[in-house]
Symmetry: C2
Subunit: 242 residues, 2 copies
């Protein structure tokens, strides 16, 4: 099977994705924030693995033309201009700017996936753009791997669900039988929840954490399917709209 | 929630299960082989993490009263008296004997889970015995953790499915909403396949590997639910029937 799913990046050997089209999925919220910022005119997103690196990267940029954003365990970081809520990345905040972003799981997953031939960022809001990207690879017999960011090495339901939706859009139903187990799990999970994605996401651990932090409004925003036609792609440590 | 699922032992911090009732699940085939051997009169199973350790342990035992068994990547090991097929662990082979067993994933998962207050071995064939063991803990507010063995750090569908069946037997439906994501995934997976467990297992990667090795007969044996009323429990590195 040409399409694989990694349910948590700790299960990923970085060399495994060489030559693949890779989609990194962190529904709540890095992928959604990145897609939103680019759709709203950000020039580029520079993912940083920790807050120190993010600060150093931001210091090299013109402060009028950049924004330093991110979170740790869902919470804002002191001294940062924005958190990790897509609501903070509207045109007024990001148009024409470079965003340096560090998040608990999403930017780490991007780092582990960077050896892919092409690396895109996907989630529900830009699902069709990402499905088209994977389909284009498959049409040329190029393998695709969907890497779920998860949570501190554990599997996140919302990321697996999004991987399942992408598989559903790219595969013919008769191809699902040949999938490897993690992809099969994602696919089955999506089939069971496809009629109410937002409800399934509201029941996840991560959604419950966001709710407790007063960030419950982000959930509906991150669970909306196909609201943005943008394909964020990562090259040399910068993510731009393709 | 008092009941958790770890979908792959690489995601498990061994200290996490201190004080818990733990069930280690390796449907294909270590759990099924262990349950079968004990049901057929084996005195004890000694799990060994590698073939060298298994050989050394077996050398300390009376050869008439012991059996050295196991596999690597599903294949028999040279010099071993048995592989990892439950069919090889009938009464004629194991009655009254101590079995030293090493398998690719199952015995490693047992090793990672050993700090649990009680550690049992579970699978479909002894599902009710294991569900009763977990339920007994919950009735006393003792947390339970189901550790899926997986395959080289990846999630195996058949183990997740078995974890889902155990949850289904132990939880009231209204409790499922409060589960953590990995447990929710296992539970949802089981709900989607509960009417044909064997068919779901036949579609897994592991079943396809066994089939290719000529071991396809083991699949139905491992997919049978509640055929053995045995609870294998691990104490001080020995597994015996409770």
């Amino acid at each position: 099977m040409l399409l694989d799913v990694v349910l948590s990046p700790t299960a990923l050997d970085p060399d495994e994705v060489k030559g693949h089209r890779v989609v990194v999925v962190d529904v709540l919220r890095a992928s959604t924030t990145i897609a939103t910022a680019l759709a709203n005119g950000a020039r580029a997103i520079i993912p940083a693995t920790d807050t120190g690196e993010a600060g150093r990267l931001a210091a090299t940029l013109d402060s009028n033309a950049s924004l330093l954003g991110g979170e740790r365990d869902g919470k804002p970081v002191e001294g940062f201009g924005a958190g990790n809520s897509p609501a903070e990345y509207g045109p007024e905040a990001v148009d024409g700017k470079t965003v340096v972003l560090t998040t608990t799981n999403g930017t780490r997953a991007l780092s582990r996936a960077k050896k892919g031939a092409q690396v895109a960022v996907g989630t529900f809001v830009n699902a069709q753009a990402v499905a088209d990207f994977l389909r284009e690879g498959l049409d040329e017999d190029q393998p695709g791997t969907i890497v779920c960011a998860g949570w501190h090495g554990r599997v996140s339901l919302e990321d697996a669900l999004c991987a399942g939706l992408l598989l559903d859009r790219v595969l013919r139903p008769e191809q699902a039988g040949a999938l490897a187990d993690p992809a099969k799990i994602a696919y089955a999970l999506y089939q069971g929840s496809r009629n109410d994605i937002e409800r399934a996401i509201r029941g996840t651990e991560h959604a419950r954490r966001l709710h407790a932090l007063g960030l419950g409004d982000d959930i509906a925003r991150c669970a909306a399917v196909d609201t943005l036609d943008v394909l964020p792609v990562q090259n040399d440590g910068r993510i731009t709209a393709a």
